[in-house]
């Protein structure tokens, strides 16, 4: 074996690590730049975002898919926040450190690893068929919220856990009950962390197709949804069908749809990151 001088091996390993980093970000950069390059011309004919698809989706816009994605995501948040935060409060503030609690925690971690198509099938069985909600916004939102639950519980748990014990002690020692201590002291100090976690988990599911495939999604709807019992179009699925199921589809339109999806997801991530930085800076403990 050739012996390298320490200086040279130092330089080589630095070079290797640097290249590995570049290699890691190349796909991301490529995806984003290609999507922007091919999609922006259609995307910025603003009508694309604000009008209904026409001519068998070959023309017109993607408004119903954007609205569908937003509706599903926002409604799912309303289900997942109270349940997720409630579970996190139970686990962090009330549960004893025993086998039962350990099993629950382990189950939550493992739920986060269940493939999304399994959630989709479960949603089909429970919400669409058993609860007779049909393929609908409400069934899709419920399915999404099940998928978000592990992440929301975990982040909310972390946020509650990072509220200093001394706050709780101070409140309890003033004769304030445990529940009121949680409501008035622990929760207000944990809310930034809880909300950031919720937004991040939302961003993660906004691009999901599998859980919605059998529970909420329509191939095409001629009008915007009227009620939560309607089916909806969603961006990722719309992207898939325009790219694969519709002949003679103009390529730039597909990329413009991808760009819309990308912007929604990335801006939610961005909001969460900004919020986190802001709250960190303004936190006094």
């Amino acid at each position: 074996m050739i012996k390298l001088s320490p200086k040279l091996s130092q330089k080589l390993s630095y070079l290797f690590l640097f290249l590995a980093t570049i290699l890691a970000i190349i796909p991301g950069v490529l995806i984003i730049s290609i999507i922007i390059a091919k999609g922006w011309s259609v995307f910025f004919t603003l009508k694309f975002l604000t009008s209904m698809p026409t001519s068998g989706m070959l023309k017109g816009g993607i408004l119903p898919a954007i609205i569908g994605t937003f509706l599903l995501v926002i409604i799912s948040i309303f289900f997942v926040l109270p349940i997720g935060v409630g579970a996190a409060i139970y686990l962090n503030e009330y549960s004893k450190n025993n086998l039962f609690t350990k099993i629950i925690k382990l189950a939550i971690i493992n739920l986060a690893g269940v493939p999304s198509i399994v959630y989709g099938l479960f949603g089909l069985g429970i919400f669409v068929i058993y609860l007779k909600l049909g393929v609908s916004i409400i069934a899709g939102a419920l399915t999404l919220s099940m998928m978000e639950l592990p992440v929301v519980i975990t982040t909310a748990y972390g946020a509650l856990n990072s509220v200093p014990l001394s706050f709780r002690e101070a409140s309890l020692s003033l004769g304030v009950s445990r529940w009121k201590t949680i409501v008035h002291i622990v929760l207000p100090n944990a809310i930034p962390g809880i909300l950031t976690g919720a937004v991040l988990s939302t961003a993660r599911i906004a691009g999901e197709t599998a859980p919605l495939l059998f529970t909420a999604v329509a191939f095409y709807t001629p009008h915007l949804p009227h009620s939560i019992r309607d089916q909806v179009m969603i961006l990722p699925y719309h992207l898939y069908i325009t790219a694969t199921q519709i002949p003679n589809m103009e390529e730039n339109r597909i990329f413009a749809t991808a760009l819309a999806l990308l912007i929604i997801v990335l801006s939610m991530n961005f909001i969460a990151i900004i919020a986190r930085i802001y709250f960190r800076k303004n936190r006094k403990w």
Partner: protein
């Protein structure tokens, strides 16, 4: 007249026997100091008097602590009322990250002691005056409590306790994060408050115990070795262990 009577009191952290058959009478409107080497159970004893130990998993106790003749470990005792009457000040100031005003008003509002704004304002002012903080903070009541110096924060913690109308104040090494000048000022405050309050103070600092307290309890390895007038404990203790400790031979 004794206000807090501790009878055959034992405390365990799961299987660790931390307080061993403690018997002591703490007198009303007197300052009682608890001294002893680190880990001897001073904080555990103090936290038994307002049942803050209940919040730790695995703690169990036996024996009685009678406050005004009522055993606080009886079933049917409302811990919230107990803790309101027996206030606690901790080693480090533990204010909430809200305004000075809200910190003092917190206990009043949450416990619904007062609901009218005027009444709350009045109590806040009175409490801040009783810890000599009013003149300093009256123009910045709505600034964050954490902007105060440590000494002022500790005063504010005491004001918070005073506000909920406690009549017993427990202090667990309240000066350990303060410099000597701040320590002296807090000691003056404690002496001033003993006109109206029964005070129990845990301290590592024997000079502090000698300076402020009327009575002193000396603890060692979970046992109460000696309880007597402070002068007696520091000049002519009955027990050899006490003698060794106060003369600085260990600890």
């Amino acid at each position: 007249m004794s206000k807090i009577e501790i009878r055959n009191f034992n405390l365990y952290y799961t299987s660790l026997h931390v307080l061993k058959n403690i018997n002591v009478n703490i007198l009303e409107r007197k300052i009682t100091a608890i001294i002893g080497p680190s880990g001897c159970g001073k904080s555990s004893l103090l936290r038994s008097i307002n049942r803050m130990n209940d919040t730790i998993e695995g703690v169990h106790v036996s024996g009685e602590i009678n406050i005004f003749g009522k055993n606080i470990y009886d079933i049917g005792i409302d811990v919230r009322i107990l803790r309101k009457n027996v206030g606690m000040v901790f080693q480090r100031p533990n204010l909430f990250p809200i305004s000075i005003y809200e910190n003092v008003a917190f206990g009043l509002k949450i416990n619904r002691i007062h609901s009218k704004k005027n009444a709350i304002n009045e109590v806040v002012e009175k409490s801040l005056k009783s810890v000599s903080l009013w003149d300093h903070v009256k123009d910045k009541l709505h600034k964050s409590a954490l902007s105060l110096t440590l000494e002022q924060q500790q005063r504010l913690c005491i004001a918070r306790v005073v506000a909920v109308a406690s009549n017993i104040i427990l202090l667990d090494e309240p000066c350990s994060s303060l410099d000597p000048i701040a320590t002296q000022k807090i000691e003056e405050l404690i002496i001033y408050l003993s006109d109206q309050y029964t005070i129990v103070i845990v301290t590592h600092n024997m000079q502090q115990a000698a300076r402020v307290s009327h009575n002193t309890a000396f603890m060692l390895l979970g046992e109460l070795i000696e309880f007597d007038k402070t002068e007696k404990i520091f000049t002519n203790p009955s027990m050899n262990e006490t003698e060794d400790y106060v003369s600085g031979r260990f600890g």
